[in-house]
Point group: C2
Chain length 262, copies 2
DNA sequence: CTTGGTATG
DNA sequence: CATAACAAG
């Protein structure tokens, strides 16, 4: 069972650049896309995603944010946003929660596109409120009997190993002390960073590189795309990879690929 | 003496597409550019126009309209807009009037970028007011002892020979009856359409093609770029050409080339 | 530096 | 359909 998360940075541009071929090559069972920046009806006429089923959660604002979850497995349940009494507005289309048949149980895939705080102070404050809500909301899944994956572009590099230039980015949104501390609390609350578990503590690899300068060529990146698992999902981990070369032509993010033993 | 008028549809894009090589090939003595859509300081660092002297008249609004006149001859006089007591505002950078040494007299080159009326009713009304002012203002040059050229993108096709589909464009801005009638009045007031004089009455050729569809490949164009001459300039006409192929890669307009015998 | 929206032609 | 400004990342 292959789960892939990928920030495609505009699905229309990604399609022009060969998204379909990459999806065919990666062959995910479930594909979690972030930053689609389109409504479904804006996609090229006649174009079809190369997977059986799709769920879309675009932002209300045109060309902005938005998520989509594609699957070759049935969707048993579909939810958007943080479904709860303490509902945080999801008009930016940042969460899709789907449930799929998996072995003799069900697998939950929570597709997350966490707000960026790099543009304005106001957006950083929005991000910091948002992640607190996410932490609280996600808590309900950690002790779940069924396996749950919390995946996506979390827009935060956790440790100094997750960023090429830690000291130079101490004051940069995405590597602020309070964001890294939040990430530690998220893991302490019962989520497991599958990629880090698989590769162990080491410098890199990264999943995102700025478009400015020669950041990607010089591998001056950040690891901000994650697959986190609850305790029930953890034993199923078979392999974890950041497809560093694969995504190169399609997006400024690389796809993160997790295989689960069914 | 070679005078060239060319709507470059964004000089920065034109430079990327090889404007410099075309200018070198065409070798104008005086080059009248319209729709430069840039301030001089926005041009690529280190880039130099391939001619000795330049005069710029950008619009106040960034990325919009604007004219420039380049020359390998001295500028004896430089004016912008319709210089007169009845001054019409030239904040859109639509007129440059230059005077150059020529034989034993001087040549006046009036570089015009006439407003388009195709976007909004309000702009069509602006255009219709503007052309009346232009007709009045230009009147002062017709009886001038020195040769005067009134050149540029006039955004009006005069006769049915100047447009590929006259009947289909009866209600299109640029071929409206009142615009064509204005053009007739302009010619009646003492201006001579040098290109038409040289090639005679015939269908086409055109100087502008829409970017939509295959208009240029199908030669579905308009002749809206002109060099008009007063009586003093008329006897100097040596040749007139629309460089249909030359401009192809650079702009949606072709350069119009006039050679005058000195 | 890149996407995508919008205004303008 | 193309240029360029802009907002966002």
């Amino acid at each position: 069972m292959r789960i892939v998360t990928w920030n495609v940075n505009g699905i229309r541009a990604a399609i022009r650049k060969g998204l379909d071929e990459f999806v065919e090559r990666i062959a995910p069972d479930i594909l979690l896309l972030q930053e689609v920046r389109a409504f479904e009806e804006q996609l090229p006429k006649g174009w079809k995603p190369g997977m059986d089923e799709t769920v879309w959660n675009p932002a209300e604002k045109k060309g902005y944010s938005g998520t989509a979850t594609w699957a070759n497995r049935e969707f048993v349940e579909i939810g958007r946003g943080m479904e709860s009494s303490l509902d945080r507005d999801d008009s930016e289309g940042r969460i899709i929660h789907t449930k799929h048949p998996f072995a003799n149980t069900s697998l939950h895939c929570i597709n997350i596109y966490l707000p960026s705080g790099s543009n304005k102070e106001e957006r950083q404050l929005y991000k910091e409120g948002w992640i607190e809500d996410l932490l609280n909301w996600a808590q309900r899944f950690t002790d779940h009997d069924e396996p749950v994956l919390l995946c996506g572009d979390l827009n935060i590099a956790h440790t100094e190993n997750d960023i090429w230039n830690p000291s130079g980015n101490r004051f940069t949104s995405g590597f602020l002390p309070q964001e890294r501390e939040w990430f530690s609390r998220l893991l302490a609350s019962g989520w497991h960073d599958l990629f880090r578990i698989k590769v162990g503590e080491q410098k890199g690899p990264y999943s995102w590189w700025s478009n400015r300068g020669q950041a990607r060529a010089k591998d001056r990146g950040w690891r901000i795309d994650y697959v986190l698992a609850n305790a029930a999902a953890l034993p199923m981990l078979a392999s974890a990879e950041i497809m560093r070369e694969g995504g190169l032509v399609v997006s400024d993010h690389a796809p993160v690929i997790i295989d689960l033993a069914e």
